[in-house]
Symmetry: C2
Subunit: 335 residues, 2 copies
């Protein structure tokens, strides 16, 4: 199977690295090779129909010298590459934009219309256009997979699919954002203020310089809308999520909660009717009371009771692992 | 697809109930019906090639009057039914015997040799003969599925399979037995003795009259050996597990642990080399520190980090849900 990688930041280059380090295992599982025939960046595209040398591309990317690759073409944009190159599966890992979903949405749409499979780690396109894009995949008889968009390396959609064979899923609770969970854990455990906890998270690279996407609940909301679409098929978007961030939570509130046996968590909730992302009191021993940057998702089912999965919600190797899992699923089901 | 149910206790009759209550959903998913052509009990077999009326069989079973069914044949034993009837998939839910695995092992073996698919909730046959039985399934080109044997309704093998596409699993930790977890939680939270906590668990139906299978760690060990085979392919049996039960844990030990921020849990551990079931100190906020009858399984992977799944490890509807999931998987993959 021929792959086109659009985006070669931490996730995209992590996928390349994983494809290389796992090549023997992949070959023995698939009975064939996966080759990368194009790597698109915002400055141009490396093109090699015979398959790009991944360790070389990876090390050039680390040195920010991808443009020096002998097959680098500054005149082939991502859009042009996705529209014109010959490949079987687009691996779309461009940065998330939650207002308009671009450039990912156009890339995904273009590939699906060309009857190419798509794997994406980008929340924007799906949080805004889930029904359109999954419909487009179905109409064109190709697969669109997005395991990495929710819960990093946690196999959330895989797990849900298995459960949904038999069970009706009634509601979902989750802690879907590691940055806010880190800040709230820190405030609770060390009795520090929001400002101090945020500053430390920023120093550690857990929070962005502009933290608003995380701390206002937008990241959690976009993941929740993707989950809700998958489980309830209700065509919602991130804009339908009622959200409140964590910026107004004071150290005093957290102390008071602690005294009463609670911890404050940014909890995402969805049922078939509504979606909420909001700080909530969670009992200290509740399975949602996880610490640090962990993520948790809890499904309430009609027969199997409550099922919870906990894992690392972020990290480029973890996300690359989820992307690679989707690629292998597609390779297996189409061979 | 035609099913033969061997065993019609809480799990087997729960499966029948679920097959009936979910029949419309099953039909729309499979585009066809699942019919039950035989129900074997220790006293005889109900046989109906046209499909047994499940609500009737279920209500007769509740009244312990299955033998009054007009198609009940006291001269057809489970062994004879599995050997002679026409069916596509055996659903084996007879009681677990961890010393010799019978009657389940013979039933499973017979069905596989006749090239029938098998779904089982019975730990005995697999904890003793995993490699032989999975090999037999492979040789006969049929499926052997056993999701219900570990973690009740938790989709453990489904999840592991997804992870193992990409990840190498390095080790497994788990709390695999709800009875001992309930007793230990009770001892810790209410500062009661082992004897009192056990007596209460027995009153509530969480522990058996003879609790040794649970409290000596045998149940957890049998599940661990199945997990270990699945993940590491090492052909181990329950007899290879080094196990210590919880009967010697005093209230004093638990109090001392608590004072130091720990809780005592019966932890199952496996890597490619060894398997242990033993009481361990777990930090109070650790994800393994779950309370009550919950089960948890934690996998350490090379790329995805640690993944944990928490759910109800027992309960007949939960177990029936896992069995039904396996049946639907087989029906889908063979249609």
């Amino acid at each position: 199977m021929k792959l086109l990688l659009a985006g070669f930041g931490t996730v995209g280059s992590g996928v390349a690295k994983a494809l290389d380090s796992k090549k023997d295992a992949i070959k023995s599982k698939l009975g064939g090779n996966l080759s990368v025939v194009g790597i698109c960046t915002s400055k141009g595209t490396i093109i090699d129909e015979k398959g790009i040398d991944l360790p070389l591309a990876y090390s050039l990317a680390q040195e920010k010298k991808l443009y020096t690759h002998r097959n680098f073409d500054p005149n082939t944009s991502s859009e042009k590459a996705v529209k014109t190159l010959e490949y079987d599966c687009l691996v779309e890992t461009t940065p998330t934009n939650i207002d308009h979903g671009e450039p990912g949405a156009t890339l995904v749409r273009t590939a699906l219309r060309r009857q190419k499979h798509v794997v994406t780690s980008n929340k924007g396109p799906l949080a805004l256009n889930f029904r359109e894009l999954t419909g487009l995949a179905e109409k064109n008889n190709v697969l669109l997979k997005y395991e990495a968009t929710v819960g990093g390396a946690m196999p959330v959609f895989n797990l849900l699919e298995g459960c949904m064979h038999v069970n009706k899923i009634e509601k979902i609770y989750g802690i879907l954002n590691g940055t806010t969970n880190y800040i709230l854990s820190k405030m609770s455990m060390e009795s520090t203020s929001y400002e101090l906890a945020l500053a430390e998270a920023q120093e550690m690279g857990i929070a962005e310089k502009d933290p608003s996407y995380d701390v206002e609940g937008t990241d959690a909301a976009s993941k929740l809308s993707i989950l809700s679409n998958f489980v309830f098929g209700n065509g919602v978007t991130v804009r339908d999520v009622q959200k409140t961030g964590i910026t107004k939570i004071s150290g005093g509130t957290i102390e008071l909660a602690k005294k009463n046996g609670y911890i404050i968590k940014l909890v995402a909730y969805a049922d078939a009717e509504r979606m909420l992302v909001t700080p909530r009191l969670v009992p200290l021993h509740h399975p949602l009371a996880i610490d640090g940057t962990l993520n948790v998702i809890e499904f309430h089912t009609d027969m199997a009771g409550k099922i919870r999965v906990i894992g690392e919600g972020a990290g480029h190797m973890q996300t690359a692992s989820a992307v690679l899992g989707d690629i292998l699923d597609i390779a297996k089901s189409t061979k």
